[in-house]
């Protein structure tokens, strides 16, 4: 949801919609002392070397000691080989004054290791595992990673490793037992740095009791031409050079009216970064939950350097690189070697997991607003969708449904009978989602607050008191979700025996979980708060929302063990995708924000968060008809599809606009619902393989350099190419049809409305009407659809399918369909149908993947084939040896086969007759 309106009031300023965020509310690198210090290394370099004789070789890893040659502090180094072409590099202090924080709960499980071979020669150590190889240089310390002997990643090639070891504060230095002389020298080193031992930002003071403890390391990508990843930023898909600007920042923040084209931190932080070139793709997951800044160095592409390269005959420019800088913790980096984009995306999800197959309704259309005022309001909006024969699956309630922002309660005046209201929705196959935020109103008569107070469940101040901040309820405290007991308590609150005024069909929206603290530094929690295990908030900040989600997910699973939970979250970290869908937060009703919805979700998708969307219409401000229409059309092709609006905006349900707008929106909704079988199949395959549901062009066209930076288009799996209209007042859009090789050969693409075929690669100007959503189906693919209209997706369960077959140059196509009960975990027990359809030689056949155990009443009502050279006279379908003639009809540029009427779990062969 929204922002710190309250905070703005407190500080007495109101920012206009037009002007956006006030950047001075947030730190620059220069204002963040560890970033400033770590970045300095970029000019001087550091001197680290392995200490000879300390090497230990194990079956799956090597360890050694590492020395900072300037201050002689010692570190331990570990390189581990993991399954699937991934290495894990860890560096920690050998004997830290106190333990340094290691991220927990981000990985889906302890990664599996693989055996290695180790060779030593010329001070180099070569660690090999399958196609992957790491060559470790002792002095200066550096590791080069090779995939099939192609050099794809270097660690510390720039010598920007920077590791601030823990030290005693100078005052204590005077004490007689304060350690050796060596330490004295080091302390003096950083003494002249202001901000090392305490820091101020605006009116906020950070006590920094443990002093400087930053970690930083550079990663180079010699085979790459473009870097991408590290969401969440409102910026282009391809990362931009940070030379002359601040680095990209990863620090979960509630940013009020964020601006686009910005490297500022937003609500989520996923420290995974990819380097991609025509031959190779590799990635690095920097596992650190503290505030992190990432400097980006892109390859020099200016005239002089290209001239030099041309003359010298070498393309050896400095490879693109990233410098990760974190405030505390250890170096814990996963180097993923690809070789292709889809490989590396899957290597990442193998580590951090994927969203499980969601309930189908959550992939349908969501209707939200801050706020639907009362029960009548909810009922009326739901009924209006029926009146205008528009499908809608889920109504949402924002914070105003609660009794004074006390979560797990209802405003009894506006919502006297929530269970009746919920029943009215669920009877139509609809759902309700209610918001539950992590801030807890400090009200002694509120059970949740008294429980947390009594049991000591809140995050503590340095002094050991319950931390108090300001948020929606006024004075609020924040449960310490890092404590498993607190998570259990929290999870139990969702149980229907506790939260009696909802049903198991009511799902949850976790907002404000960065956490948002209106009167805190940068509108979040102070870094010197204390969490479970005595860790500082500084160490774990970016994980707070993630831990919140773990509690909610657990609660929903226990509430109804046979229903898949649906949770929407704003804050997220690596691995949060296992629990929740995300949206891009408090955007603006503005064309530039519409354009960024795709850029941001593409970046999220390759970082594990396929289940991503943006507030349709824009959260702040009032979209005009055209912007709203185009936003619905765009939202219809992003995985999470929800309209939402700020409380101060005008109502914008589709029927409040002229009829034309309503019909355009209806048409976009119908299109979304018709493709639900594809979305659902895609999410099943995401769970199975980790392959993102939406993908940038480079995922499947890795050699087409012109496609690398395109972020106004997306692929849905490898089946659809989507290029929504996202500019005002245009009658045509430029669409880029990517090449599969360097000879400009490409796939066939079929317009999904007309089946007109696009055969050329490169940029094409495509005319559009107000109704048009430019979408193409790839030649060679088969897409399952449901083309009957219903009030909600649940009512489509038994509706028949349409298969759309688009042929490639060889006249072939294939594609999968997955179906089950769309709701329960029965699919984990094999209650599903997963089938691959294959078309070749004028014949369509199906092949079941696994036994089709789910009993479905759905059937195939229509088969559409595009790309045939001739129109067949008829078709013959053979089931169990019984053949039957089917009518064939030409419509537009496709052939329709009438009513095969085959059940989904039946083997068949369908032949075209000429």
């Amino acid at each position: 949801m929204r922002c710190a309106v309250f905070f703005c009031l407190l500080i007495g300023g109101w920012i206009n919609y037009g002007s956006g965020v006030d950047p001075t509310n947030f730190k620059t690198c220069e204002q963040s002392s560890f970033c400033r210090r770590s970045r300095k290394v970029q000019s001087s370099g550091s001197k680290y070397s392995l200490i000879s004789g300390t090497l230990n070789t194990y079956s799956d890893s090597v360890t050694a000691d590492l020395l900072n040659k300037e201050n002689h502090h010692q570190f331990t180094f570990k390189l581990e080989a993991l399954v699937g072409g991934t290495f894990r590099l860890q560096i920690d202090e050998k004997t830290p004054l106190r333990p340094r924080y290691r991220v927990e709960h981000a990985l889906k499980a302890q990664p599996k290791t693989v055996t290695i071979r180790v060779q030593e020669s010329d001070g180099e150590l070569t660690v090999t595992s399958g196609h992957s190889k790491a060559v470790i240089h002792g002095d200066p310390f550096r590791i080069d990673f090779y995939e099939n002997d192609v050099h794809v990643v270097s660690v510390n090639a720039k010598n920007w490793l920077y590791f601030e070891h823990l030290r005693q504060k100078t005052q204590e230095q005077a004490l007689p037992d304060s350690g050796e002389q060596q330490q004295n020298v080091e302390v003096l080193e950083t003494l002249d740095e202001p901000g090392s031992w305490e820091e101020n930002f605006k009116s906020h003071h950070d006590s920094k009791p443990y002093g400087p403890e930053a970690v930083a390391l550079d990663f180079s990508f010699p085979a790459a031409e473009v870097l991408f990843g590290i969401p969440e930023h409102a910026d282009s898909f391809a990362l931009k050079s940070t030379s002359g600007t601040d680095p990209y920042r990863l620090y979960n923040l509630d940013v009020f009216e964020y601006i686009v084209d910005s490297k500022m931190a937003l609500y989520g932080s996923v420290p995974v970064l990819y380097g991609h070139g025509p031959q190779r793709t590799a990635g690095v997951y920097w596992q650190n939950a503290a505030e992190t800044w990432v400097d980006i160095y892109t390859a020099e592409t200016n005239v002089v350097s290209s001239l030099v390269n041309f003359v010298s005959g070498s393309r050896k420019s400095t490879p693109p690189a990233a410098h990760f800088i974190s405030e505390s913790g250890i170096v814990d980096a996963f180097i993923m070697l690809g070789p292709q984009p889809m490989d590396v995306f899957q290597q990442y999800t193998a580590l951090t997991g994927t969203h499980d197959l969601p309930q189908l309704f959550s992939l349908a259309y969501h209707q939200s607003r801050w706020n639907y005022n009362d029960e009548r309001d909810v009922t009326t909006v739901s009924a209006k969708y029926d009146e205008f024969n528009m499908p809608m699956d889920t109504m949402w309630l924002d914070i105003e449904y609660t009794d004074g922002k006390r979560y797990f309660t209802w405003d009894k005046f506006k919502f006297p009978e929530p269970l009746t209201m919920i029943k009215n929705l669920t009877e139509l196959g609809r759902h309700l989602v209610v918001i539950i935020d992590p801030h807890i109103k400090r009200d002694n008569s509120y059970f949740f607050h008294s429980d947390c107070t009594e049991k000591g469940y809140y995050v503590k101040t340095r002094e050991g008191n319950d931390y108090e901040g300001w948020c929606w309820p006024g004075s609020a405290s924040y449960p310490d979700f890092f404590n498993p007991v607190v998570r259990d308590y929290y999870a139990s609150q969702y149980h229907l025996s506790k939260f009696k005024t909802v049903t198991e069909d009511v799902m949850i929206w976790n907002d404000m979980n960065e956490p948002s603290v209106f009167n805190g530094p940068e509108i979040t929690a102070p870094k010197d708060l204390i969490h479970y295990g005595n860790w500082e908030h500084r160490d774990v900040h970016n994980l707070y929302g993630h831990m919140h989600l773990m509690g909610t997910f657990d609660g929903l699973q226990k509430r109804d063990p046979n229903q898949r939970p649906f949770i929407l979250t704003r804050a997220h970290f690596a691995g949060s995708q296992r629990y929740a869908a995300i949206w891009t937060g408090d955007n603006l009703a503005d064309w530039s924000h519409l354009q960024h919805s795709i850029k941001m979700c593409l970046t999220e998708a390759v970082a594990g968060f396929s289940f991503c969307g943006a507030d349709v219409g824009g959260f702040f401000g009032n979209p005009d008809s055209e912007l709203l229409e185009r936003w619905y059309q765009t939202g219809a092709f992003l995985p999470f599809f929800r309209a939402h609006a700020h409380i101060d905006t005008k109502r914008r349900e589709p029927w409040l606009f002229p009829e034309r707008t309503r019909l355009i929106i209806r048409s976009a909704l119908l299109k979304r619902y018709s493709y639900l079988p594809l979305w659902y199949t895609s999410f099943y395959e995401l769970e199975q393989t980790g392959a993102p549901v939406i993908r940038p062009l480079l995922a499947h066209y890795p050699q087409d350099k012109e496609a690398f930076a395109i972020d106004s288009q997306l692929l849905v799996q490898q089946r659809l190419l989507v290029r929504p209209v996202m500019q005002q007042g245009v009658s045509k859009v430029d669409v880029y049809f990517p090449a599969i090789d360097d000879k400009k050969n490409g796939d066939y693409w079929y317009d999904v409305d007309t089946y007109q075929r696009q055969e050329r690669t490169g940029s094409e100007s495509i005319p559009v009407t107000e109704y048009k959503i430019p979408v193409w189906q790839r030649g060679g693919s088969i897409v399952p659809k449901k083309e009957r209209l219903r009030r909600s997706s649940a009512l489509m369960l038994n509706d028949p399918y349409t298969l759309v077959i688009c042929l490639d140059r060889q006249g072939k196509a294939d594609g999968t369909l997955y179906l089950d009960d769309e709701k329960s975990y029965a699919y984990r027990d094999g209650q599903y149908i997963y089938v691959n359809y294959e078309f070749a030689n004028n014949q369509l056949t199906n092949r079941f993947i696994g036994k089709p155990k789910y009993k479905s009443d759905a059937w195939i009502e229509r088969i559409v084939i595009a790309g045939l050279n001739r129109v067949p006279s008829s078709a013959t379908i053979t089931v169990n040896g019984v053949a039957q003639q089917l009518e064939v009809e030409q419509r537009d540029a496709a052939v329709y086969i009438r009513k095969p009427s085959i059940k989904m779990d039946v083997d068949f062969a369908l032949k075209l007759n000429y």
Binding site: N373, L428, R651, L789, L795, N798, D857, S901
Partner: protein, 551 residues
């Protein structure tokens, strides 16, 4: 009533089985087709049938075979195969109904006769019960409209009477004003004569009083200066440069926020415009500026609470510009008044304030002899008895003239009000007229809402605090029946938002009352209002008949 998997096992087969079964009993026609359209669903002699849009000819057996053949969806009136098709529920015993194909065979019973779902869903037929209930409801509604219409008839009678009264009063005032204008001319002549004599005497007296000239000049200068200031301010306020200063133009000046609640309300602004909607330059100078100036001075810290008048002795020399002199006095009086009001403005509640403003009307518009008198008595120099006598005579003549003049203005004011009322649309038969001047309230958890038809809608927190105007009478806004909705616009501006407005949805009932108030959009209020004025038995019956005919 949701469908289960098991229940639907035979869906596809059943759908085929029901293809073109006899439907509805009387005339054979495909499922989902209304009686009126039955003729369109007859097979040709060759067993074929053409889509209603003519787009295609198909075997009649393909009608309702659960596959969409026609572009217009006309071949599938009884299934969900065509997204744009309609299904006709006969609903015998109740109203028949067209539902979209999206609701056919989805496991939810939408037709009361259950015809939209397969028998396996087990919808049952509730049409008779619903029909009976609807009939009772219709009877009740008809009865309500009938009884309400009787009340409405009374309202019409009274409304017409009010209209006639207004017309009578209007013509009476027309005659009176003519009469008064004659009298005014007469009094003006008398005044002129008396002033001529007075002038003569004064000139003579002045000769003797040369030494007082300086102060006299000053006294003349002051009104001049006042006018200049006022003109400047007028230009500044007149944002749209139409030669008038309007309420909204004043509302931007926070100095005029008398109760200092952060908003210049319409009421506040109106006070400064002498309770008018807008004023031209002259009216501004004479009526508005004297009210505004003290506020300005107060805001700028220039205003010192007035010391007793006598401490700044001003030789009050009645001069030839005598008619202007009272204006000066008047203005001073107003200043005092303004301050005085201000003294308790902040604390007192708004209703009082308004009343007070209204009472202020008189002295502001009028000339204020009393004030002039008191001024004269405290500041008059010692004239010789003859001059004094002439001055008094002239004063009397002036007062007599002013009296008539004021009277005329009063009549004009009343005429204006009558004309305004005449300009309001009180409905086809004046049935709404009696509501003008009435106010109705509604309380919810937080607020008391007030609706004064044809005047304003407002809101006041129950736990105390200032009343906020949600809107002033704007217009009738019903779709279809114009008199089913009222709009009140230009209410107090919302913080960082638009000006408030209210939409009144009106229904027939025997007693007038507000039944609910909501705020679906920020700052847009929605009142549910009931009154017998909305009861129209004939229109109700006509609508009923119409609906019946359609079925």
């Amino acid at each position: 009533m949701r469908l289960t998997n098991k229940q639907l096992v035979l869906l596809a087969i059943c759908a085929v089985a029901t293809v073109s079964s006899v439907y509805g009993g009387e005339v054979p026609r495909p499922r989902g087709v209304s009686l009126a359209k039955a003729a369109l669903y007859q097979p040709r002699s060759d067993g074929k049938w053409t889509c209603l849009d003519g787009s295609k000819t198909i075997p009649f057996t393909q009608v309702n075979d659960d596959y969409c053949d026609c572009l217009d969806g006309s071949d599938e009136p009884g299934t969900s195969a065509c997204p744009q098709a309609k299904f006709h529920c006969i609903n015998k015993g109740h109203q028949s109904l067209d539902i979209p194909s999206s609701q056919v065979q989805d496991g939810i019973c939408d037709c009361c006769d259950g015809s939209d779902e397969l028998p396996v869903v087990g919808c049952g037929n509730t049409c008779n019960e619903l029909g009976a209930a609807a009939a009772i409801e219709r009877r009740n509604a008809a009865e309500l409209h009938k009884r309400g219409a009787e009340k409405r008839q009374e309202m019409i009678t009274r409304g017409k009477q009010l209209k006639a009264d207004r017309a009578a009063r209007r013509s009476e005032l027309g005659a009176r004003i003519k009469e008064q204008e004659g009298l005014k001319a007469e009094k003006e002549q008398l005044k002129r004569n008396a002033e001529a004599l007075e002038n003569e005497a004064m000139e003579a007296f002045k000769e003797q009083q040369r030494e007082l000239d300086a102060e006299t000049a000053q006294a003349e200068q002051e009104p001049q200066q006042m006018r200049q200031e006022a003109t400047l301010s007028f230009v500044r306020y007149d944002a749209n440069k139409d030669g008038f200063v309007e309420i909204t133009e004043l509302m931007v000046d926070m100095n005029l926020d008398s109760d200092r609640n952060g908003v210049v309300t319409v009421e506040e602004a109106k006070y400064f415009l002498d309770e008018r909607e807008r004023v031209d330059l002259d009216a501004f100078v004479t009526l508005a500026w004297p009210r505004i100036k003290p506020q300005k001075m107060l805001a700028e810290g220039l205003f010192q609470p007035p010391v007793v008048e006598t401490e700044q002795p001003k030789p009050q020399v009645p001069s030839t510009e005598a008619p202007q002199a009272p204006v000066v006095n008047d203005e001073q009086a107003d200043m005092e008044l303004g301050i005085d009001e201000h003294g308790h403005d902040g604390e007192e509640d708004n209703e009082d304030e308004e009343d007070q403003y209204e009472e202020d009307d008189e002295p502001d518009v009028g000339v204020g002899e009393a004030t002039a008198d008191s001024e004269t008595s405290t500041a008059a120099p010692n004239y010789d008895p003859e001059t004094q006598r002439l001055i008094e005579q002239a004063n009397e003549a002036r007062n007599a003239f002013d009296e008539v003049d004021r009277h005329i203005r009063e009549i004009e004011h009343e005429i204006k009000e009558l004309d305004e009322q005449e300009g309001k649309d009180y409905g086809r038969n004046e049935e709404w007229a009696v509501l003008d001047g009435e106010c109705y309230t509604f309380e919810d958890r937080e607020y008391v809402y007030t609706l004064c038809p044809f005047d304003r809608a407002s809101q006041k927190p129950r736990n105390g605090g200032a009343e906020t105007t949600l809107g002033r009478w704007d217009q009738w806004l019903g779709e279809g029946d114009k008199y089913s909705k009222q709009k009140y616009s230009n209410g107090a501006a919302c913080w960082n938002g638009p000006q408030r407005s209210a939409l009144i949805n009106i229904k027939c009932a025997l007693e007038p009352r507000i039944t609910g108030v909501s705020e679906p959009n920020r700052c847009e209020y929605y009142f549910e209002f009931e009154t017998p004025a909305a009861c129209d038995s004939e229109a109700f019956q006509a609508a009923e008949q119409n609906q019946h005919d359609e079925l």
